[in-house]
Amino acid sequence: MNFLILSLIKAAVVAFVLMTTLAYLQWIERKVIAHIQLRVGPRRVGPHGLLQPLADVIKLLTKEDMLPSHVNKPFYFLAPFIAVFFALIAISVIPFGTEITIGPVKTAMQLTDLNIGVLFILGLSGMGVYGVALAGWASNNKYALLGGLRSSAQMISYELPMAMAIAAPLLMLNTLSFRQLVDAQGGYFFGFIPRWTVFQGPFPQVVSFILFMIAAFAETNRVPFDLPEAENELVAGFHTEYSSMKFASFFMAEYANMVTVSCVATLLFLGGWQPPFPEQYGAKFVPSLIFALGALLCFYHGFNPARPFDKITLPVVGVVFLGVAAAFVAPVISTILMPLFWFAAKVGIILFLYIWVRATLPRFRYDQLMRFAWTFMFPVAVVNLFVTGLLVALS
């Protein structure tokens, strides 16, 4: 019974945090891309457009739900559910931090520590193709059909190098549970090089990390592999015929996939919540320092305001930042927050990379993308796996 209540509480917390992250990820993406493109991004709803995600959700929920007359109804309704279901469920096996103790309760920061977590994620990402393919098929629309076909072919092609890229670090660490994977990456070489998989001997997994990231861009249909929804060629690709909440489901699925893939990359290659340098060099104070600097910056701009209302908003944000900085040095809370911080920081950097790439690169052509998968990614992944296996066997 105790276990049930605990799981329910954890599920509620994780679901809430995940949904908020998805909504604000979109806000951050719009802001970052806007600043790269000499624009300012959302500004109208709330200070600096901070309530924009909320407004978007309300808009999408209250929008008329169009049902085109020519669609294949059962599959048309099923497709967005499949897409969003498999995208969201993946978060259940992702650990966010070490085991914590709150009062009498001792629990892991994770919904469930599945002993085949990595395989589970791979399976889910394979199932996600069905949502896209069915959406394209059921829409009975030529653009949607082309988009759905492209997407299925692309996702299946890139799944293979992705799985092989994942297999290489698994060979070295010899486990399939995410928690044990991260524990195996703790500690330092020579006292300062972290034992993350990308740095770990006998064969640092830099190649598989890069392969995994490329495949992840393709799996999540992001630029430069966003052909299924290439808006200039296929209008909106597989979700052309979808509107209101059904469209939002696909949208949410895409961003949830991004978050999941970034989490997996962090856990597999970047040591999860292990800090990048040991505690004796002051790893404990990095978060406090960052937030304190952020607070200082806010105060500075608050007292030299560029816009009139900055006088109020920025000092408030600064005070919040100072509070967070204090929390990171507080005795009990810091042990909970510290792993969360490093995990979130690494995931955040990868997500920023996604956004940055989206603002920079043009898009591949469909056949070029397939050729890239089969003639470059696949052979490199095979050789990488082979070399890793050989070195692991020899050492």
């Binding site: 493109q37 043009p362 056949d367």
Partner: protein, 413 residues
Amino acid sequence: MSKRPLDTDPVATLSAPAVEPANPSAPRLMTLNMGPQHPSTHGVLRIMLELEGETIRKALPDIGFLHTGIEKQCEVNTWQQAVTLTDRVDYLSNLSNNLVYALAVEKLLQLEIPARAQWTRVLLAELTRINSHLVWLGTHALDIGAMTMFFYCFREREDILRLFEMVSGQRMMTSYIRPGGLALEPPRGWDKAVGKFIKAFPSKVDQYEALLDANPIWKRRTQGVGFISLEDMLDLGVTGPMIRGAGLKWDIRKSEPYSSYEKFTFEIPTRKENDVYARYQVRLAEMRESAKIVVQALEGMPGGAWQADAPHVVLPDREKMKTQMEALIYHFKIVTEGYRVPAGEVYQAIESPRGEIAYYIVSDGTSKPYRVHMRTPSFGNLQALPVLLKDTLIADSIAALGSMDFVLGDTDR
């Protein structure tokens, strides 16, 4: 999925394969209607595609969605009123259209245009070329997926539009070049503003090149794509950067100089490769050459009158109108009736950003044109579309379409 007969009229030729022999192994074609609301056809172009998989077997453009009857409207307006209509033909290079109309009418009137007006016209025409190429580069890169280029190009375009606004009071519909000279004297400080812009501009072109040329994906998407033989292009009346990208050194500014272009030194950039990438390189090089011409025009700008000495065509200035009887009469006549243009016909061609733009004007000696025919580069270039798109991928079709740089207002008129 089944092949449906197309019901609109111009498509009769397209649905011809309906009589194909009953061969079960023959590929089944899918008809895809691209446009007129499709985001990548740049305006309201409709293309009917017959697809085999993702390969285009047949493409047929359907134009006319932006037809506004400009040629006919010219016939019911006076000669000077028609200038405002030429702005609306090609709304991205309006000053080129102003210029060709003014040159044609001046030929009929046999007017001598003062040097300062001619040099200002060259300067404005080249700024227009830069403006148009910037819009092209931005939208073309956007089609291929490089979103950010669009905003960088529009940053510079905004500066050019501000320069246009300074001289004419309008950002796009300038109507600044008129038969007899210019509409107004360029304001004080305008030359400084142009100088400031044009000095910084080449480095901006370097920036675009650094963003796109260094990118292997961009090269893969554009190199070897959108080939069409030079013979086909010449047969179909294609002009401008398209044929220069195929290696033909054809530019009216050199071959039949107008508005004292012969006094400027500039190169005609050409490329041999004849693909989308070559056209992109040609246009970038043209932007650089245009910047050089603008600098020359600024530095060597002659002084003196900015309108022809032709009181029966050019409106007198306010001062004269209020003090001289003759000027008042001319003002009254020009404003109420318009000036009369001697009967005759004239053909005047210039090099617009998109290619060869030519106006064929017939006058019957009254104050309104009898006929204004516009030979627009977009129309000529668009004729090559079926040949260009045949047997290419859909994704390539977007790149190839973009490389043609047509404006639907220019096509439909």
